[in-house]
């Protein structure tokens, strides 16, 4: 009887270790004393986006990497994809929820910016220090509450938009800045983001 309990405990411990072993939380969240529920505006690679949606705090999920069986969990992805024969579109997807409500919606906020077919990583880096107005001619924001999508317009400021030229396999970089958007019924205010972008989440060549 004792042996069975011992084996079950060992198997449980092994399973726990395989699922959670060496998982590293790469998100650092520091409360902004000026904005309750939001993180500070930073450019040090805290890997978090937070904002108010109709005055309720919304923030991205924690970035967790390094688990043995569990897949890496990233809070943001940046990718370029085909839009039409003349333009591509650069998409920034943030995954999160209202603060304190892990399964709440919207669970995704996206920014879609129309870019030339030739848009590359150096064009991304050229956004550093610029405010981009997102309107019908330049792109759109999306608030995703499955299966519904609400489009909106706004402004994004890139305090930092860089890439690491030393990375050979894939692209890595960093981006930080501020965001405001209007989805009609939903107002995104006081948005601030700060991310280190790893090759697994940065798909712009």
């Amino acid at each position: 009887m004792k042996l069975k309990i011992h084996k079950a405990a060992s198997a449980g411990l092994l399973a726990f270790t395989l699922f959670t072993g060496c998982v590293k939380n790469k998100t650092r969240f520091f409360d902004d004393p000026q904005a309750s529920g939001l993180g500070i505006f930073s450019n040090t690679g805290n890997n978090v986006f937070s904002c108010y949606l109709n005055n309720a705090a919304w923030r991205t999920e924690a970035r967790e990497t390094g688990g043995i069986i569990l897949q890496n969990n990233f809070e943001v992805y940046v990718r370029k994809q085909y839009f039409d024969s003349l333009r591509d579109i650069l998409i920034i997807d943030w995954y999160g929820s209202y603060f304190g409500e892990p399964n709440s919606s919207p669970d995704q906020i996206s920014l879609n910016i129309y870019v030339p077919k030739t848009f590359g990583i150096s064009d991304f880096a050229a956004w550093q220090g610029k405010r981009l107005t997102i309107d019908s001619s330049t792109g759109y924001f999306v608030s995703q509450t499955n299966p519904n999508f609400i489009n909106g317009y706004g402004i994004i400021y890139f305090n930092m938009a860089t890439f690491d030229p030393t990375i050979v396999n894939g692209v890595a970089g960093r981006m930080s800045g501020l965001v405001e958007a209007d989805f009609g019924t939903i107002k995104l205010t006081s948005g601030r983001f700060d991310h280190n972008l790893e090759p697994a989440q940065f798909f712009v060549q």
């Binding site: 505006f41 450019n43 405010r131 402004i155 501020l178 965001v179």
Partner: protein, 211 residues
């Protein structure tokens, strides 16, 4: 905090039994400057009690670093296209400190003269309070990498040298002391350091009782 207080209690209990031959009260005042940041300096005052034993003295000290304000500038940004992209955010950091320490005064030179040199070692509790305030357009702008008020209490150690001259009714002393900051990390990306003060004090040792 509980652990710190427990360690302090152990430290006091383990001190040698106080069968002293002489008691002194020693008020002092001086100036302190941080070893890890040239911006931080302040006036300090304090008092210590010295129990003279056969070969050295045990000290109990309280010291106050009086509030001093330092100015700085951070940058704030806005998405409002009708306003300039950035503006300076005026920052003031008001720093003050308080220490309670148990120390030892060991004579190095001057056994038979009026002029003596001592080695001093202290351990105790240090409390540092750094209050950060900003002035900027808080409605439209957001500060990049803002600083935060930090109030930290922790164990510290310090050591230094002292010159002392024996007078008719007491002793005059000047000491230079190097201190660690309170132990422990600050879990916030502040741009400033907790002070690690180097202190220059002048004081007078008043003889209180004699066996």
């Amino acid at each position: 905090m509980k652990r710190t207080l427990s360690l302090l209690l152990v430290m006091v209990v383990l001190s040698p039994k106080l069968s002293f031959s002489q008691l002194y009260i020693e008020p002092f005042a001086g100036y302190q400057r941080s070893q890890n940041s040239s911006n931080y300096n302040m006036l300090n005052t304090g008092v210590q009690v010295a129990f003279k034993l056969k070969v050295y003295e045990i000290l109990g000290q309280v010291q106050r670093g009086w509030p001093q304000t330092f100015n700085g500038v951070d940058e704030a940004f806005t998405t409002n296209t009708f306003l300039p992209l950035s503006m300076p955010a005026q920052k003031t950091i008001t720093t003050s400190a308080f220490t309670f320490a148990i120390g030892h005064r060991l004579k190095l030179f001057g056994k038979k003269t009026k002029n003596s040199f001592f080695l001093k070692l202290y351990t105790g509790l240090m409390s540092q309070n750094n209050v950060v305030k900003y002035q900027y357009d808080k409605t439209n702008y957001v500060i990049l990498n803002p600083d935060k008020t930090i109030d930290r209490t922790g164990l510290f150690i310090s050591g230094g040298f002292e010159y002392m001259r024996s007078l008719k009714n007491g002793r005059l002393f000047i000491d230079l002391n190097f201190s660690s900051p309170p132990i422990g990390s600050v879990k916030y990306p502040i741009s400033y350091h907790l002070m690690s003060p180097v202190t220059l004090n002048v004081g007078y040792s008043i003889k209180i009782s004699k066996k």
